[in-house]
Symmetry: C2
Subunit: 248 residues, 2 copies
Amino acid sequence: MEFKKILEEKSDSSWELYLPHLSVDCVIFGFEGARLKVLLTKMKEKNLWALPGGYVLKTENIKEAANRILQERTGAENIYLQQFRVFSDLNRSEGFFEEFEPTLWNKQRFLSVGFYALVDFSQVSLVVDSISDACVWKAIDELPELMMDHRSIFDKALITVRRQLNHKPIGLNLLPDKFTMPELQRLYEIILAKKLNRGNFFRKILRYDILIKLDESRKGGAHKAPDLYQFDLEKYEMALRNGFNEGW
Amino acid sequence: MEFKKILEEKSDSSWELYLPHLSVDCVIFGFEGARLKVLLTKMKEKNLWALPGGYVLKTENIKEAANRILQERTGAENIYLQQFRVFSDLNRSEGFFEEFEPTLWNKQRFLSVGFYALVDFSQVSLVVDSISDACVWKAIDELPELMMDHRSIFDKALITVRRQLNHKPIGLNLLPDKFTMPELQRLYEIILAKKLNRGNFFRKILRYDILIKLDESRKGGAHKAPDLYQFDLEKYEMALRNGFNEGW
């Protein structure tokens, strides 16, 4: 079915189900192949990429809304997510629906609550919804042009993750259960957008005493197999409560 | 005029002027007499304290709304303010207006965007609005019971200020133009909720090189007059961009 018709068909029930003027946009981060990636959808007929988003049911709070939207897209439950900012500029979205009747649900003014989510890449199976024809991971240094103000929503999410690296379980939620020290360092480097000295990073991480070194190493590859680590959940949580005060 | 009548009289124009379901609540911090204080209003007839708040005009974004609300209360312009969280629980406010008609503006479900504001205490002159009979500063360690979920809005604001102490100009906006080192340390201690060693604090602050020592000292008092300092705005801003990575 064409894009316009789908929106028009959904409009009446949207007015009934959702709070007006309020939307949720999700910046979903995943870490794969030593790259930080973000989940994007592509709108049918329009050659435009967008962050996955949705609306808030009259019977739920915004975190429940974000969880529901995430689950619909990724099939995953209990995803780590945090709201980080409301985007409320006039005409941030209305112009996109110029061709439609003024009564169309999507054409009203929307203020959008931005959430960021951190997912374990291996746990996700993507779902393409009825108004999209693609739902894919894109590396954050190779993002296509995004619709509306979604680029600034993404930028703000990344800055927030960077600032929260020292007091939220960012690493825990992006890495698989077992990981190597170079993988952990690479994740920190991408989020902080700077190279870190290997020896310093290693020493600081060990001083925080939040890792358990496992009695196994990564298989495959010609080089010496790197050691595998896990987070010590109890110690990690305690360290986050105090904050990693040293910086990187 | 009585509380109920005032709300009923305002209701129709509120439905016309404002976005439904959306409010703004402001946690306004000031620093006076070595104490961190927050601005509270007292509702007419109800013996209930609240954070100053208001609604979002259909023609403004939420920052403009918060600025307008702050100016109405404090007379001050260009106040430093930051949104920090949306409070969206079901029934967070509706129950408060049980006795009223369902069409009353105030009785709908509201999601509230929390802003914190930092003001120079000496620049503010308080205004009591039509539904309040008091508007006063209260020390944060002696807050009265607050209505609805305003206590958790306040708690979250304080945690946010604490976390942002190293990358937002918190000190600059709370202190008067000229201040002593003990005043600066005291402000940091209150926000961080812990005692700091005087020598360490002094050394760290000087190492960041963000202060200008003035050629004058605080007059009055029997003891040796303490030196006065100002922030070096250019260096302070640069230091904030990098973040104070050492912690306190």
